[in-house]
Protein backbone atom coordinates (compact mmCIF):
# COMPACT_ATOMS: atom_id res chain seq x y z
CA UNK A 1 0.00 0.00 0.00
CA UNK A 2 1.34 3.47 -0.81
CA UNK A 3 1.19 6.19 1.81
CA UNK A 4 0.23 9.70 0.74
CA UNK A 5 3.60 11.41 0.67
CA UNK A 6 4.52 14.79 2.16
CA UNK A 7 5.76 17.44 -0.25
CA UNK A 8 8.56 19.94 0.20
CA UNK A 9 6.76 23.19 -0.40
CA UNK A 10 9.00 26.24 -0.21
CA UNK A 11 7.93 29.83 0.51
CA UNK A 12 10.94 31.20 -1.33
CA UNK A 13 12.13 29.69 -4.60
CA UNK A 14 15.25 30.72 -6.49
CA UNK A 15 14.58 30.10 -10.18
CA UNK A 16 17.77 29.16 -12.03
CA UNK A 17 18.62 32.00 -14.41
CA UNK A 18 15.56 33.97 -13.31
CA UNK A 19 13.75 35.63 -10.43
CA UNK A 20 13.16 34.70 -6.82
CA UNK A 21 9.60 33.58 -6.16
CA UNK A 22 8.06 34.69 -2.92
CA UNK A 23 4.83 33.21 -1.62
CA UNK A 24 2.50 35.27 0.55
CA UNK A 25 2.35 38.90 1.67
CA UNK A 26 5.64 40.69 2.19
CA UNK A 27 7.21 44.11 2.23
CA UNK A 28 10.16 44.13 -0.16
CA UNK A 29 12.82 46.79 0.12
CA UNK A 30 14.51 47.60 -3.20
CA UNK A 31 18.13 48.66 -3.78
CA UNK A 32 17.21 52.32 -3.17
CA UNK A 33 15.64 51.55 0.19
CA UNK A 34 12.07 51.97 -1.10
CA UNK A 35 9.59 49.40 0.18
CA UNK A 36 7.01 47.69 -2.00
CA UNK A 37 4.15 45.52 -0.81
CA UNK A 38 3.59 42.29 -2.72
CA UNK A 39 0.29 42.28 -4.60
CA UNK A 40 -0.33 38.69 -5.63
CA UNK A 41 -0.31 35.20 -4.14
CA UNK A 42 3.17 34.58 -5.55
CA UNK A 43 5.55 37.39 -6.50
CA UNK A 44 8.70 37.26 -8.64
CA UNK A 45 11.57 39.41 -7.39
CA UNK A 46 14.09 40.40 -10.07
CA UNK A 47 17.58 39.02 -9.46
CA UNK A 48 19.21 40.11 -12.74
CA UNK A 49 18.79 43.85 -11.96
CA UNK A 50 17.60 44.55 -15.50
CA UNK A 51 13.85 44.61 -14.93
CA UNK A 52 12.02 47.79 -15.90
CA UNK A 53 9.47 47.01 -13.15
CA UNK A 54 11.94 46.56 -10.30
CA UNK A 55 11.76 45.10 -7.75
CA UNK A 56 9.48 42.76 -9.69
CA UNK A 57 10.73 40.53 -12.51
CA UNK A 58 9.40 41.44 -15.96
CA UNK A 59 10.98 38.61 -17.94
CA UNK A 60 13.95 40.70 -19.13
CA UNK A 61 16.40 38.14 -17.69
CA UNK A 62 15.58 35.94 -20.69
CA UNK A 63 17.26 38.47 -22.99
CA UNK A 64 20.58 38.25 -21.15
CA UNK A 65 23.35 35.93 -22.30
CA UNK A 66 23.35 32.69 -20.31
CA UNK A 67 26.40 33.73 -18.24
CA UNK A 68 24.90 36.99 -17.05
CA UNK A 69 21.70 35.40 -15.79
CA UNK A 70 21.35 35.00 -12.04
Amino acid sequence: MTEPKAFDHADVVLCPGGPMLLRGDHLVEDADGVTHRTERPVSAICRCRKSASAPWCDGTHKLLPQKQRP
Binding site: L21, R40, P41, V42, C57, G59, K62, L63
Partner: protein, 356 residues
Protein backbone atom coordinates in the same frame (compact mmCIF):
# COMPACT_ATOMS: atom_id res chain seq x y z
CA UNK B 1 -40.06 31.02 -26.25
CA UNK B 2 -41.02 28.43 -28.82
CA UNK B 3 -40.84 24.71 -28.30
CA UNK B 4 -40.53 22.19 -31.06
CA UNK B 5 -39.29 18.68 -31.52
CA UNK B 6 -37.17 17.36 -34.33
CA UNK B 7 -35.12 14.38 -35.36
CA UNK B 8 -31.44 15.13 -35.07
CA UNK B 9 -29.25 12.61 -36.88
CA UNK B 10 -31.76 9.94 -36.01
CA UNK B 11 -32.49 11.19 -32.45
CA UNK B 12 -35.70 12.74 -31.36
CA UNK B 13 -35.06 16.03 -29.61
CA UNK B 14 -37.42 18.42 -27.91
CA UNK B 15 -36.09 21.91 -27.96
CA UNK B 16 -36.86 25.22 -26.41
CA UNK B 17 -35.67 27.91 -28.80
CA UNK B 18 -35.52 31.66 -28.64
CA UNK B 19 -34.24 33.96 -25.93
CA UNK B 20 -35.92 33.44 -22.57
CA UNK B 21 -37.25 36.77 -21.29
CA UNK B 22 -35.24 38.39 -18.52
CA UNK B 23 -32.37 35.94 -18.94
CA UNK B 24 -29.22 37.33 -17.34
CA UNK B 25 -26.99 37.28 -20.38
CA UNK B 26 -23.52 38.28 -19.41
CA UNK B 27 -21.42 39.81 -16.67
CA UNK B 28 -20.79 42.80 -18.89
CA UNK B 29 -23.37 42.59 -21.62
CA UNK B 30 -25.48 45.69 -22.12
CA UNK B 31 -28.32 43.27 -22.81
CA UNK B 32 -27.53 41.89 -26.25
CA UNK B 33 -28.21 38.20 -26.77
CA UNK B 34 -25.31 35.86 -27.50
CA UNK B 35 -26.31 34.10 -30.70
CA UNK B 36 -24.80 31.38 -32.86
CA UNK B 37 -22.19 32.80 -35.26
CA UNK B 38 -22.50 33.28 -39.01
CA UNK B 39 -21.88 30.02 -40.86
CA UNK B 40 -18.69 29.77 -42.94
CA UNK B 41 -19.72 26.90 -45.23
CA UNK B 42 -22.18 24.04 -45.66
CA UNK B 43 -21.23 22.16 -42.48
CA UNK B 44 -21.54 25.13 -40.14
CA UNK B 45 -24.72 26.25 -41.89
CA UNK B 46 -26.22 22.81 -41.29
CA UNK B 47 -25.03 22.44 -37.70
CA UNK B 48 -26.12 25.93 -36.62
CA UNK B 49 -29.53 25.29 -38.08
CA UNK B 50 -29.68 22.03 -36.10
CA UNK B 51 -28.61 23.90 -32.95
CA UNK B 52 -31.26 26.55 -33.43
CA UNK B 53 -33.75 23.82 -34.27
CA UNK B 54 -34.93 25.36 -37.47
CA UNK B 55 -34.21 22.37 -39.68
CA UNK B 56 -36.90 20.08 -40.95
CA UNK B 57 -36.59 16.76 -39.24
CA UNK B 58 -36.13 14.79 -42.46
CA UNK B 59 -33.11 16.92 -43.40
CA UNK B 60 -31.37 16.42 -40.09
CA UNK B 61 -29.13 13.57 -41.21
CA UNK B 62 -26.41 13.01 -42.42
CA UNK B 63 -24.11 15.99 -41.87
CA UNK B 64 -22.55 17.58 -44.96
CA UNK B 65 -18.74 17.68 -45.29
CA UNK B 66 -16.87 20.81 -44.22
CA UNK B 67 -15.70 23.10 -47.01
CA UNK B 68 -12.28 24.23 -45.84
CA UNK B 69 -10.77 24.97 -42.43
CA UNK B 70 -12.90 27.99 -41.63
CA UNK B 71 -16.10 25.96 -41.99
CA UNK B 72 -14.78 23.13 -39.80
CA UNK B 73 -13.24 25.54 -37.28
CA UNK B 74 -16.35 27.68 -36.70
CA UNK B 75 -18.43 24.50 -36.35
CA UNK B 76 -16.11 23.05 -33.73
CA UNK B 77 -15.79 26.40 -31.98
CA UNK B 78 -19.57 26.65 -31.68
CA UNK B 79 -19.93 23.08 -30.43
CA UNK B 80 -17.25 23.75 -27.81
CA UNK B 81 -18.97 26.92 -26.70
CA UNK B 82 -21.91 24.81 -25.54
CA UNK B 83 -19.58 23.71 -22.71
CA UNK B 84 -18.60 27.26 -21.73
CA UNK B 85 -21.43 29.78 -21.85
CA UNK B 86 -23.76 28.48 -24.56
CA UNK B 87 -25.91 30.59 -26.85
CA UNK B 88 -29.23 32.24 -26.26
CA UNK B 89 -30.64 30.69 -29.42
CA UNK B 90 -29.52 27.14 -28.53
CA UNK B 91 -31.16 24.87 -25.98
CA UNK B 92 -28.81 24.16 -23.05
CA UNK B 93 -29.95 20.54 -23.19
CA UNK B 94 -27.96 19.97 -26.40
CA UNK B 95 -24.58 20.30 -24.64
CA UNK B 96 -24.10 16.54 -24.24
CA UNK B 97 -26.43 15.36 -26.99
CA UNK B 98 -25.00 12.20 -28.61
CA UNK B 99 -25.98 13.39 -32.09
CA UNK B 100 -23.61 16.35 -31.67
CA UNK B 101 -20.82 14.50 -29.84
CA UNK B 102 -20.25 12.02 -32.70
CA UNK B 103 -19.54 14.56 -35.42
CA UNK B 104 -17.65 16.74 -32.91
CA UNK B 105 -15.37 13.79 -32.26
CA UNK B 106 -14.50 13.67 -35.96
CA UNK B 107 -13.78 17.39 -36.13
CA UNK B 108 -11.54 17.06 -33.07
CA UNK B 109 -9.72 14.11 -34.63
CA UNK B 110 -8.99 16.15 -37.77
CA UNK B 111 -7.75 19.09 -35.71
CA UNK B 112 -5.51 17.00 -33.47
CA UNK B 113 -4.02 15.19 -36.47
CA UNK B 114 -3.19 18.45 -38.21
CA UNK B 115 -1.65 19.91 -35.05
CA UNK B 116 0.43 16.78 -34.41
CA UNK B 117 1.65 16.74 -38.03
CA UNK B 118 3.18 20.18 -37.50
CA UNK B 119 4.99 19.29 -34.26
CA UNK B 120 8.73 18.87 -34.94
CA UNK B 121 9.50 17.08 -31.65
CA UNK B 122 11.86 18.21 -28.90
CA UNK B 123 15.25 17.40 -27.43
CA UNK B 124 16.28 16.60 -23.88
CA UNK B 125 19.51 18.44 -23.12
CA UNK B 126 19.48 19.55 -19.48
CA UNK B 127 16.87 19.95 -16.79
CA UNK B 128 13.25 20.38 -17.83
CA UNK B 129 12.99 24.10 -16.91
CA UNK B 130 16.05 25.09 -18.87
CA UNK B 131 15.10 22.90 -21.85
CA UNK B 132 11.56 24.22 -21.91
CA UNK B 133 12.51 27.90 -21.84
CA UNK B 134 15.07 27.23 -24.60
CA UNK B 135 12.43 25.42 -26.67
CA UNK B 136 10.08 28.40 -26.33
CA UNK B 137 12.83 30.85 -27.30
CA UNK B 138 13.66 28.72 -30.37
CA UNK B 139 10.08 28.46 -31.60
CA UNK B 140 8.75 31.92 -30.78
CA UNK B 141 7.54 33.41 -34.07
CA UNK B 142 6.13 36.64 -35.50
CA UNK B 143 5.24 39.27 -32.91
CA UNK B 144 2.06 41.30 -33.11
CA UNK B 145 3.13 43.10 -29.94
CA UNK B 146 6.26 44.46 -31.64
CA UNK B 147 4.10 45.86 -34.44
CA UNK B 148 1.68 47.41 -31.97
CA UNK B 149 4.52 48.91 -29.95
CA UNK B 150 6.11 50.75 -32.89
CA UNK B 151 3.97 51.00 -36.01
CA UNK B 152 0.33 49.93 -35.71
CA UNK B 153 -2.37 52.54 -36.23
CA UNK B 154 -5.47 52.88 -34.09
CA UNK B 155 -7.73 50.87 -36.42
CA UNK B 156 -5.30 47.97 -36.49
CA UNK B 157 -5.06 47.94 -32.72
CA UNK B 158 -8.82 48.04 -32.26
CA UNK B 159 -9.12 45.19 -34.75
CA UNK B 160 -6.53 43.24 -32.80
CA UNK B 161 -8.44 43.81 -29.55
CA UNK B 162 -11.59 42.45 -31.18
CA UNK B 163 -9.69 39.41 -32.40
CA UNK B 164 -8.03 38.84 -29.02
CA UNK B 165 -11.36 39.15 -27.24
CA UNK B 166 -12.33 35.66 -28.38
CA UNK B 167 -9.82 34.28 -25.92
CA UNK B 168 -9.42 37.01 -23.31
CA UNK B 169 -13.11 37.07 -22.41
CA UNK B 170 -12.71 33.48 -21.26
CA UNK B 171 -9.13 33.84 -20.13
CA UNK B 172 -7.88 30.79 -18.21
CA UNK B 173 -11.20 28.96 -18.60
CA UNK B 174 -9.93 26.23 -20.99
CA UNK B 175 -7.17 25.37 -18.50
CA UNK B 176 -9.59 25.20 -15.58
CA UNK B 177 -11.10 22.04 -17.14
CA UNK B 178 -7.81 20.26 -16.41
CA UNK B 179 -7.75 20.66 -12.61
CA UNK B 180 -9.52 17.41 -11.56
CA UNK B 181 -7.31 15.34 -13.86
CA UNK B 182 -3.99 16.11 -12.22
CA UNK B 183 -1.71 14.53 -9.64
CA UNK B 184 -1.61 16.24 -6.22
CA UNK B 185 1.37 18.60 -6.56
CA UNK B 186 0.37 19.67 -10.07
CA UNK B 187 -3.21 20.31 -9.00
CA UNK B 188 -2.07 22.57 -6.15
CA UNK B 189 0.33 24.38 -8.47
CA UNK B 190 -2.21 24.95 -11.23
CA UNK B 191 -4.80 26.29 -8.82
CA UNK B 192 -2.22 28.67 -7.36
CA UNK B 193 -1.81 30.18 -10.83
CA UNK B 194 -5.52 30.11 -11.67
CA UNK B 195 -6.32 31.86 -8.40
CA UNK B 196 -4.33 34.84 -9.68
CA UNK B 197 -5.98 34.67 -13.16
CA UNK B 198 -9.38 34.65 -11.45
CA UNK B 199 -8.65 37.70 -9.32
CA UNK B 200 -7.59 36.24 -5.96
CA UNK B 201 -11.20 36.25 -4.85
CA UNK B 202 -11.82 39.83 -6.02
CA UNK B 203 -14.03 39.93 -9.14
CA UNK B 204 -12.58 43.34 -10.03
CA UNK B 205 -9.19 41.71 -10.53
CA UNK B 206 -10.36 38.74 -12.57
CA UNK B 207 -8.35 38.93 -15.78
CA UNK B 208 -11.25 38.33 -18.17
CA UNK B 209 -13.10 41.12 -16.36
CA UNK B 210 -10.15 43.52 -16.62
CA UNK B 211 -10.19 42.74 -20.32
CA UNK B 212 -13.94 43.41 -20.58
CA UNK B 213 -13.47 46.78 -18.89
CA UNK B 214 -10.67 47.58 -21.32
CA UNK B 215 -12.89 46.72 -24.29
CA UNK B 216 -15.73 48.88 -22.99
CA UNK B 217 -13.39 51.81 -22.35
CA UNK B 218 -12.29 51.54 -26.01
CA UNK B 219 -15.92 51.72 -27.15
CA UNK B 220 -15.95 48.04 -28.09
CA UNK B 221 -18.51 45.40 -27.17
CA UNK B 222 -17.48 43.16 -24.31
CA UNK B 223 -20.16 40.53 -24.61
CA UNK B 224 -18.97 37.04 -25.17
CA UNK B 225 -18.16 36.18 -28.80
CA UNK B 226 -19.44 39.54 -30.06
CA UNK B 227 -16.76 39.67 -32.77
CA UNK B 228 -16.62 36.00 -33.68
CA UNK B 229 -17.83 36.64 -37.24
CA UNK B 230 -14.83 38.79 -38.14
CA UNK B 231 -12.00 36.68 -36.73
CA UNK B 232 -9.79 34.68 -39.10
CA UNK B 233 -9.85 30.88 -39.09
CA UNK B 234 -6.45 30.83 -37.37
CA UNK B 235 -7.97 32.46 -34.28
CA UNK B 236 -10.79 29.92 -34.20
CA UNK B 237 -8.23 27.16 -34.45
CA UNK B 238 -6.13 28.75 -31.68
CA UNK B 239 -9.21 28.76 -29.48
CA UNK B 240 -10.26 25.26 -30.49
CA UNK B 241 -6.82 23.85 -29.68
CA UNK B 242 -7.13 25.16 -26.11
CA UNK B 243 -10.59 23.63 -25.70
CA UNK B 244 -9.45 20.35 -27.25
CA UNK B 245 -6.55 20.10 -24.79
CA UNK B 246 -8.64 21.25 -21.86
CA UNK B 247 -11.62 18.96 -22.42
CA UNK B 248 -9.74 15.69 -22.91
CA UNK B 249 -8.05 14.13 -19.89
CA UNK B 250 -5.80 12.23 -22.32
CA UNK B 251 -4.39 15.61 -23.46
CA UNK B 252 -3.69 17.08 -19.99
CA UNK B 253 0.04 17.22 -20.77
CA UNK B 254 -0.64 19.24 -23.90
CA UNK B 255 -2.98 21.57 -22.01
CA UNK B 256 -0.32 22.37 -19.41
CA UNK B 257 2.47 22.65 -22.00
CA UNK B 258 0.27 25.08 -23.90
CA UNK B 259 -0.31 27.08 -20.73
CA UNK B 260 3.42 27.20 -19.97
CA UNK B 261 4.33 28.39 -23.48
CA UNK B 262 1.56 30.98 -23.36
CA UNK B 263 2.76 32.39 -20.03
CA UNK B 264 6.40 32.27 -21.14
CA UNK B 265 5.63 34.49 -24.15
CA UNK B 266 3.45 37.03 -22.41
CA UNK B 267 5.40 39.26 -20.04
CA UNK B 268 7.60 41.18 -22.48
CA UNK B 269 4.98 41.28 -25.28
CA UNK B 270 2.50 42.67 -22.73
CA UNK B 271 4.92 45.52 -22.02
CA UNK B 272 5.16 46.21 -25.78
CA UNK B 273 1.37 46.16 -26.08
CA UNK B 274 1.02 48.59 -23.18
CA UNK B 275 3.57 50.94 -24.77
CA UNK B 276 1.83 50.78 -28.16
CA UNK B 277 -1.58 51.44 -26.65
CA UNK B 278 -0.17 54.41 -24.72
CA UNK B 279 1.50 55.73 -27.88
CA UNK B 280 -1.92 55.74 -29.57
CA UNK B 281 -3.65 57.32 -26.57
CA UNK B 282 -5.95 54.37 -25.90
CA UNK B 283 -7.79 54.28 -22.56
CA UNK B 284 -6.14 53.58 -19.23
CA UNK B 285 -8.23 50.42 -18.63
CA UNK B 286 -6.87 48.52 -21.62
CA UNK B 287 -3.32 49.67 -20.89
CA UNK B 288 -3.81 48.42 -17.32
CA UNK B 289 -4.83 44.99 -18.57
CA UNK B 290 -1.47 44.63 -20.30
CA UNK B 291 0.54 46.24 -17.51
CA UNK B 292 -0.99 43.76 -15.07
CA UNK B 293 0.23 40.96 -17.34
CA UNK B 294 3.83 42.17 -17.36
CA UNK B 295 4.16 41.44 -13.66
CA UNK B 296 1.63 38.59 -13.42
CA UNK B 297 3.05 36.54 -16.26
CA UNK B 298 6.64 36.97 -15.10
CA UNK B 299 5.42 34.98 -12.10
CA UNK B 300 3.10 32.71 -14.07
CA UNK B 301 5.79 31.59 -16.50
CA UNK B 302 7.94 30.34 -13.61
CA UNK B 303 4.97 28.63 -11.98
CA UNK B 304 3.69 27.11 -15.22
CA UNK B 305 7.06 25.77 -16.33
CA UNK B 306 8.63 24.78 -13.03
CA UNK B 307 5.92 23.96 -10.55
CA UNK B 308 3.07 22.97 -12.88
CA UNK B 309 4.71 21.17 -15.83
CA UNK B 310 7.72 20.22 -13.69
CA UNK B 311 5.60 18.43 -11.09
CA UNK B 312 3.44 16.82 -13.77
CA UNK B 313 6.46 15.28 -15.43
CA UNK B 314 7.84 14.11 -12.12
CA UNK B 315 4.61 12.23 -11.48
CA UNK B 316 3.93 11.25 -15.10
CA UNK B 317 7.19 11.32 -17.08
CA UNK B 318 5.48 9.72 -20.06
CA UNK B 319 3.67 13.00 -20.74
CA UNK B 320 6.82 14.90 -21.76
CA UNK B 321 6.10 14.64 -25.49
CA UNK B 322 2.58 15.97 -24.99
CA UNK B 323 3.81 18.86 -22.86
CA UNK B 324 6.09 19.93 -25.72
CA UNK B 325 3.37 19.22 -28.28
CA UNK B 326 1.04 21.60 -26.42
CA UNK B 327 3.78 24.21 -26.12
CA UNK B 328 4.60 23.98 -29.81
CA UNK B 329 0.94 24.26 -30.75
CA UNK B 330 0.62 27.45 -28.70
CA UNK B 331 3.65 29.06 -30.35
CA UNK B 332 2.86 27.80 -33.83
CA UNK B 333 -0.76 28.96 -33.77
CA UNK B 334 0.21 32.37 -32.39
CA UNK B 335 2.76 32.65 -35.19
CA UNK B 336 0.06 31.83 -37.74
CA UNK B 337 -2.42 34.28 -36.19
CA UNK B 338 0.27 36.97 -36.28
CA UNK B 339 1.09 36.10 -39.91
CA UNK B 340 -2.56 36.42 -40.87
CA UNK B 341 -3.07 39.78 -39.13
CA UNK B 342 0.19 41.27 -40.44
CA UNK B 343 -0.75 40.15 -43.96
CA UNK B 344 -4.21 41.71 -43.57
CA UNK B 345 -2.55 44.98 -42.66
CA UNK B 346 -0.04 44.79 -45.52
CA UNK B 347 2.91 44.49 -43.11
CA UNK B 348 3.84 41.04 -44.46
CA UNK B 349 3.44 40.72 -48.23
CA UNK B 350 2.54 37.02 -48.16
CA UNK B 351 0.39 35.27 -45.62
CA UNK B 352 2.67 32.30 -45.29
CA UNK B 353 1.71 31.97 -41.65
CA UNK B 354 -1.90 31.25 -42.59
CA UNK B 355 -3.69 27.96 -42.10
CA UNK B 356 -3.31 26.20 -45.45
Amino acid sequence: MRRRSLTLAGWNVRLAVGVPPGHDLDFCSPGGAVLTPKPRGPLSEFVFAVLRADLDSDRATPWPAAEGHADAAITLWTLYELHYRGFDDVDDGLEWHPALLGPRHELEGDLERRLRDRFPGHQILGGFGQDFFAFVADHDGLSLAAHVQRDADRDQVLELLRVRSIYHLKEADPTAWVVPRLPVATKAALVELLYDEYGVGDPNRLHAHLWAQGMTACGLRCDYGAYIDEVPAEVLEQNNAMSLFGLHRRLRGAALGHLAAFEATSSMPSRRMAQGLERLGLPREIVDYYTEHVAADAVHEQLAVRTICGSLLEAEPGLADDVYFGAFTCLDLENRVAGRMLARWGVLDSDEGAVA
